[in-house]
Amino acid sequence: MYATQYHKAISLDDARSQLAAADDAKLLAGGMTLIPTLKQRLAQTDLLIDLADTGLTLIEDTGSHLKIGAMCRHYDVETSTLVATMIPMLGSLAGGIGDRQVRNYGTLGGSIANNDPSACYPAALMALGANIHTSERDIAAEDFFVGMFETDLDEQEIVTAVSFPKPDKAAYVKFPNPASRYAMVGVCVAVMDGDVRVAITGAGQDGVFRHNDMEAALSEQFSAMAIETVAIDEEMLLSDIHAGADYRAHLVREMTRRAITACQP
């Protein structure tokens, strides 16, 4: 790892002013992506601003939404009784991320800010139509996830929380990479006020995306049968050492089938 300075922010304001003052600072959340990247010298920074002590760990029922703080670890979401009662799909998604040690550190804010094309949370945020709160503004999930490892966040912006509207029913199912557990393909199906939404991670060349044709077919008839003949465009899918685009296309349909069957309130 290249030389760097470390600062443990004592509040969100402290983190903001440190970020504004430094030339080239990076926020450190759970470190489960950032530290491996730094240690392989794939990235470099003058200053690491640790968000561990900034709070941002609240999980609350706002009446209309389930609001989860950016620094909630995957473990916190996996084991929260409020999450389990309001949107159980999110608890099981968090419980399926990586392994126990990754879940003990990795956070919601870090996961979405990173926007790995194989990350799990982006699919849930897209399918539910979540709202991302930052130190500066609110951003709709559709506008937040811009492309592979790219978000709408600007350099001085800190994710503070995410608000999830409660679905009528929802499920997230992934085919995990056997070594890392990242999604080779992950599909979140949600019914929101009668609207069917299908968001797919792990497969798209531009990261997470919604599949409009499957959504249309499922709006007609909500069953695994309904998507049998919907076309899945391989041209826009990832192809890498883990899986070719044709195999990913197959997994997209299969994971969607399973998610439809697993949908629960």
Binding site: A3, T4, Q5, K39, D50, D99, R100, Q101, Y105
Partner: protein, 156 residues
């Protein structure tokens, strides 16, 4: 440079270290606690698992400065004198290792698993050890060892 203080295996320690030093490097090279291993650079193998304030962590993916003021336990800190920790004894008795490279991480992960859920099933063990990779054993005896260790920990 930052002055770092923490507790490691019950002993207070303090050193001036570079901010970019990984916790695993601090343990192995500064404190000479070489029981914690490094098996990868992708945070996947779990050979480096330790406990920070009782929570299992991959020490290769935590900076030493992040552990300021914390209570760290490594594989060297779990036996009582000459008496192995019940989980260590179980790995010995069940032959839960071949080369032993993954073993410290396996034992540290397993202890936390059992503490969190003393009545864990074989499936819980297999899923709970997802972050610990072993290239020798095929995991069968590791799972048996954790079952035996869990029983012994319940009695202890």
């Amino acid at each position: 440079m930052t002055q770092l203080s923490m507790t490691v295996n019950g002993q207070p320690v303090s050193h001036d270290i570079e901010d970019n030093m990984l916790l695993v490097t601090y343990l192995r090279e500064t404190l000479a606690l070489t029981g914690t291993h490094i098996g990868c650079d992708t945070s996947q193998c779990g050979a480096c698992v330790i406990h920070i304030n009782g929570v299992s962590a991959k020490s290769c993916t935590v900076l030493a400065v992040q552990a300021e003021g914390k209570d760290v336990t490594t594989i060297e800190g779990i036996a009582s004198g000459d008496r192995l920790h019940p989980m260590q004894q179980a790995f010995h008795d069940q032959h839960g290792l071949q080369c032993g490279y993954c073993t410290p991480g396996m034992v540290m992960s397993a202890i936390e698993l059992v503490q969190a859920n003393p009545a864990l099933s074989e499936q819980d063990i297999r899923e709970g050890l997802e972050g610990n990779i072993c290239r020798c054993t095929g995991y069968h005896n590791i799972v048996k060892a954790v079952q035996t260790g869990a029983q012994a920990m319940r009695k202890a």
